[in-house]
Amino acid sequence: MHLSKVLKPLSDCSTGELFVIQELKLEGVMRRRLLDLGFVKGAEVSVLQRSPLGDPTAFRVSDTTVALRHEESSKILGEVLGGA
């Protein structure tokens, strides 16, 4: 992990971007649930599509599409790898 890089929440990524998870700022059941769904440190997430009203957003993680609300995705921190 590059310390110089500032971590950004997943919710700030735009459609098409590829993101690598570094940290989950969540505790308890929701953390457990996200880990079970594949949102683990080091996992690559791509942003697929935002719903018409902007929330939730569909993400692709370990070969599955999962939709998360801003409430959760804003607490998943990491770096953008690429994409547009």
Binding site: R33, D36, L37, D63
Partner: protein, 241 residues
């Protein structure tokens, strides 16, 4: 005849129910789990003169009881103690699926990993070395395609050999950080004093560290049901201290 119970666990959409249907055919009974709006299906299979009762557990990503489905699946494996648990994993998405497999390995020794959708995986160019996976996980690994009835005989044969004791398992158990391991050690011996050797004490200790209150209650009820002489206050004290 002594009917052997085989539980089917797995993530949603791994073809668990396809396998269940392939194995049991029309000899199925469906209903709900007692007191739960979760579908319960069981069916019989005969193989080499042995009768098996297959139980199709709800498809889950995890067994930490975040939902009723997970609770049903977990309780069945831990409390009902099937003779074997088949963990059905999706061959095209191993990483995600092995999460559940590792959890089941922490709960019981009698596990077979069943890699389904192997035809799909091969089409996608995914090569799975089941021998290597088996030696890493310490349990048998069988590749199947439930839809094409591929590998079913090998699977049934593996189940039979596991239950006969021809296959010895040594399930992979996660080693946690030293602090956690130390706490597990402390709790595990006390857990064993309370529940004996019939239940997975290491796993129970882990759940206690996780603060799983509902499980504690269940465990307590289970012990009372079995008529063990553990008085509730003793139980409470042991856990609280």
């Amino acid at each position: 005849m002594n009917v052997k119970k085989i539980a089917l666990a797995g993530n949603p959409n791994t073809g668990k129910s396809t396998l269940f249907n392939t194995l049991t055919g029309l000899k199925q009974h469906t209903g709900n789990w007692p007191g739960k709006t979760v579908v319960h299906a069981e069916g019989n299979v005969q193989y080499q003169g042995q009768e098996y009762l297959l139980i199709d557990l709800p498809g889950t990503y995890s067994l930490f009881s975040n939902s009723t489905d997970e609770e049903v699946a977990r309780d069945y494996i831990v409390f009902e103690q099937p003779d074997a648990t088949l963990v059905v994993v999706d061959g095209t998405s191993m990483e995600r699926n092995l999460n559940l497999a590792l959890q089941v390995l922490e709960m019981t020794d009698k596990v077979i990993i069943c890699i389904n959708l192997i035809d799909e995986a091969e089409k996608k160019g995914i090569v799975i070395d089941e021998g290597k996976l088996s030696s890493k996980l310490g349990v048998p690994v069988v590749k199947i395609s439930a839809r094409n009835k591929q590998g079913i005989d090998t699977l049934l044969d593996t189940i039979a050999r596991l239950l006969r004791g021809d296959i010895q398992t040594k399930p992979y158990r996660m080693t946690y950080q030293p602090e956690i391991e130390e706490q597990i050690k402390k709790l595990e011996s006390r857990v064993r004093e309370l529940i004996g050797h019939d239940y997975p004490s290491r796993w129970m200790a882990l759940r206690l560290l996780d603060g799983d209150d509902a499980l504690l209650k269940k465990l307590h009820e289970q012990i009372q049901m079995k008529g063990r002489e553990v008085k509730s206050y003793e139980f409470g004290n042991a856990i609280n201290s």
